[in-house]
Amino acid sequence: MKTQDLINAITEMREEDSLKISQELLEAGASPAEILDACRVAMEVIGKRFESGDCFIPELILAGEMLKGISELIKPRLQQEARQEKYGKVVIGTVEGDIHDIAKDIVAFMLDVNGFEVTDLGVDVPPAKFVQAVKDTGAKVVGLSGFLTLAYDPMKATVEALKAEGLKDVKVMIGGGQIDNQIRDYTGADAYGKDAMAAVSLAKQWYGV
């Protein structure tokens, strides 16, 4: 059993195999770090496929489930392992007045598995809370999510609040059901991303990864 088998099981969406192989690898003496590394490689493959339109939401969600299952499996042996080095911090949330979380959760998940430390503020987040989180974490990237047309103005208010607090070098990306580049201009955000991988690309670009 090799870590490549685990990578294959995850990318081929063989959920039961992914857990079985992880278990076997652990029993054969593989370290949790090796298994996590295989998971990361598998998620890179899935992320690329998602970007190029070769896999979709069912696969992202199932991959997330597989990762969750594997993490549970290796957790008992994980305490001595050092935390994985992250590229940078991202603050994310659904803006004030909007309680949609599905797309935001997928973006947060993809940023996380692609090497970012994500602070997820949840839904219906007022501008002041974004400002506070950016100050607390020192994040250089903020992601604003919203599904309703109602989200336009709270997005704009959040961008303005960040600027008013002197956090001018913080980059803001926006996304969601009714968002387009016209709304990027309207809100003063730095970029609009059409899906989760666009958010990963933007974060990588802004952190110079």
Partner: protein, 426 residues
């Protein structure tokens, strides 16, 4: 608050009766893929009415007379062919303690916007009970879960006991048990609230008709693509996406069930009311959610079948193709030609015309974002282009990409409507 000064001349000073006849004909011609005298315009004002009237959204939802007044004013000011206000009313949802919706002033600030709280309200282990008897499962298991004031219904015996004739009467005592009695009272309140909302809805369209405005395409029955039926209010997006991989056969069997009873509902509705339209809002089938292969297996067959059966029963599906459908237009071309209609949000509307111009009446053409963040010149120029290309040869209704206009600037809406009347003449 926006001051509305009514235009002095109202579309050539015609009587409301003449206007109603003309506008209805215009909408009907577009639906039948014919060329009307000009492109019809439908405005779904929604929360824009609260903004224009200077009232909260909560008041707009809860003061039916005020909503009607604002809708009449807005319709007379902009003079579209058809207009509507809010899509739904919180009365019944509040009466049963609906956990899957939030309304302004109820779980949201008074100026919040109605929203769904999606969740996994049906668990994977519920599939067998759902497949065995969806009605029994829904009333005894699902309603108590999603409607907080109907929790008592979980005490009812299996509904199949009703078939036990006189012996079934032995079980009636359960209806006196306090939790069941409370649930029935809540249900009674919901019935009253919904009936009142229905009556207000009817009155609204009668009053609009008297002012000369045609019925909007949204008015009729409402059903969902079987995949969305299983996703939206039952499994939730996370659940349904996992079902594609973990239990595809059960998902398909469940979709067949909800195709059958939704069709029976829509056909009965048509017979009982005489109304021809059937609104089908789509959610998880657009580009980006699933692969074309998955779409062909899980989404399209039941949605296509649904529209075909509706058409056979003299019903016109008005399908909201939310999001982007650019990769899926070729499937839509399989639908019965000239018998269906579709509202497109973010699809390439010119491509839609090219592929589906001879298949369905196309509605849409204006992005909500442009009416909020655009300029008058931009709106005029875009409208001209849409009228010329998408409007060509008829079969087109000008609307916003979604049936809600919160945040749209009245002056831009005016420019858009006037430009449609100018460039949309055939």
């Amino acid at each position: 608050m926006f001051e509305l000064t009514l235009p002095e001349t109202r579309e050539g000073n015609k009587t409301p009766e003449q206007l109603f006849a003309e506008r209805t004909q215009r909408m009907q011609d577009a639906l039948a893929l014919k060329k009307p005298d000009r492109i019809p315009i439908q405005l779904g004002f929604g929360y824009m009415l609260a903004e224009m009237g200077g009232i909260t959204r909560q008041e707009l939802h809860e003061n039916g007379e005020k909503e009607m007044e604002l809708l009449e004013k807005a319709a007379l000011y902009f003079e579209p062919d058809s207009a509507m206000g809010l899509f739904n009313n919180p009365g019944a949802a509040l009466a049963v303690g609906d956990r899957m919706t939030k309304f302004p002033g109820h779980g949201l600030p008074p100026n919040g916007s109605f929203q769904f709280v999606e969740g996994e309200y049906m668990k994977p282990e519920d599939y067998d009970a759902f497949l065995d008897d969806p009605a029994d499962w829904a009333i005894r298991k699902y309603w108590p879960r999603v409607f907080s004031k109907l929790e008592g219904l979980s005490l009812l015996p299996p509904l199949g006991i009703a078939a036990f004739g006189t012996y079934a009467l032995f079980q009636l005592g359960i209806f006196k048990a306090p939790p069941v009695a409370a649930a029935l009272r809540a249900l009674g309140d919901a019935v009253e609230a919904q009936a009142a909302a229905d009556a207000r809805g009817q009155e609204t369209f009668q009053r609009l008709a008297k002012l000369g405005f045609a019925l909007p395409l949204f008015v009729g029955s409402i059903v969902e693509a079987p995949f969305d039926f299983m996703s939206d209010t039952l499994r939730g997006m996370r659940g349904i996406m996992l079902d594609i991989h973990r239990r595809p056969e059960k998902l398909i069997a469940a979709m067949e069930k909800c195709l059958t009873f939704q069709l029976e509902f829509a056909i009965n509705f048509r017979k009982a009311t005489g109304m021809k339209m059937c609104f089908i809002p789509l959610h998880r089938g657009s580009d980006g959610f699933m692969s074309l292969e998955q779409f062909e297996r899980f989404y399209w067959p039941t949605l296509k079948n649904m529209q075909e059966v509706l058409v056979e029963n003299d019903i016109i599906p008005f399908v909201f193709y939310e999001g982007v459908w650019d990769q899926r237009l070729k499937y839509l071309a399989e639908l019965p030609k000239g018998k269906v209609s579709g509202l497109f949000q973010f699809s390439d509307i010119f491509k839609v015309k090219e592929v589906l111009g001879d298949v369905m009446c196309i509605a849409g053409g204006m992005r909500n974002s442009m009416l909020q963040a655009g300029t008058a010149e931009e709106v005029r120029e875009w409208t001209r282009k849409v009228c010329e290309v998408v409007g060509r040869d008829g079969g087109f209704v000008m609307t916003t990409g979604i049936g809600e206009m919160e945040g749209c600037r009245p002056e831009l809406v005016k420019v858009w409507v006037d430009a449609t009347k100018e460039y949309g003449v055939y």
